[in-house]
Amino acid sequence: MARVEFNVDRCKGCELCTAFCPQKIIKLAEGINKMGYHPAAVEEMDKCTGCAICARVCPDCVITVYK
């Protein structure tokens, strides 16, 4: 069991996490955040392994990882 949590209003939608997630479960959301960006989001959280690669490539420290 693992889970990632996004600080949605800090996300600038750069997609670095979506490019590196080995499970390919991160996508940009349809809606926009306070800054006007489409923030990163995970739909199938059950597939998350808690590897934290997304968090390590995020330039904005948006992601907290639980395992």
Partner: protein
């Protein structure tokens, strides 16, 4: 469930002004992680330079001094010599360090000042709108080289790590990149070493970090990471150029 990754304590809990995907943000976080792991937050002083990282003092929780463009190593020298028990580092871009501040970095390194230099090479002047820097690659299109850098007029891109590694005052010097997870881990190790040579009083430590500027390169942030491997690494090889035998591995 336990937290396995969270914001380091030394990194401020604020939104940065950096462009989407700009890897200045990753480098800030790595410096914060190293400061946390070494337990030096309360005795660390950063010297911010001029460039996109001019506001770094808003993002790391240590003490800071702002220096005039290129002068960070000289300002840091003054701070370190008057407060030798503090850990002093500069955070400089390639325009700052390799152009206007070339004299300051060369002489601080040559004197073997007990400083740590975080040198962010994104091959361009980011803040001012993407002009050619001394580090801009041959043929690279910038605002001031619309036809690409012509080395017969502008000279060849400067490899600062290799140049400075020839100076006896330098204790640790490495070039790393932050364009993929494995490189990010290596970059953190190098940053830690550059802080440790200062703490162990061995000499001057510097890490050159290949970084992206998606905005002024005109590339999507993911493509910009790929450009680091395709265009930058072949000219700016990664690796350690100088390592002191005495530095303890973690």
């Amino acid at each position: 469930m336990k937290v396995v990754f969270e914001r380091p304590r030394a990194l401020s809990d604020v939104t940065s002004h950096y462009c989407p995907g700009c890897t200045h943000g990753i480098i800030h976080r790595l410096v914060a992680e190293v400061i946390d792991e070494l337990g030096i937050l309360e005795r660390t002083i950063g010297v911010a330079s001029v460039g996109c990282s001019v506001l770094a003092y808003n993002y790391l929780e240590c003490d800071w001094q702002q220096a005039a463009h290129g002068r960070a190593p000289a300002v840091a020298t003054g701070i370190k010599r008057s407060l030798p028990d503090r850990v002093v580092f500069t955070y400089q871009g390639d325009g700052d360090l390799a152009s206007i501040g070339t004299a300051e970095i060369v002489h601080a390194a040559n004197r073997g000042e007990r400083l740590t230099v975080i040198y962010v090479n994104n091959a361009i002047y980011g803040m001012t709108g993407g002009q050619m820097a001394p580090t801009t690659l041959e043929g690279q299109v910038t605002a001031t080289t619309p036809l690409g850098r012509d080395v017969s007029r502008a000279g060849h891109p400067m490899r600062m790590a290799e140049m400075l590694a020839t100076l006896p005052g330098v204790s640790y010097l490495a070039r790393v990149a932050v364009n993929k997870p494995a490189n990010i881990m290596r970059a953190k190790k190098a940053i830690k070493q550059a802080f440790m040579v200062q703490i162990d009083d061995l000499g001057f430590g510097m890490v050159e970090i290949l970084s992206t500027c998606p905005t002024n390169w005109g590339l999507h942030p993911v493509k910009a990471l790929e450009w680091v491997d395709e265009a930058m690494v072949p000219y700016y090889p990664l690796g350690e150029f100088k390592v002191p035998g005495e530095v303890k591995e973690e």
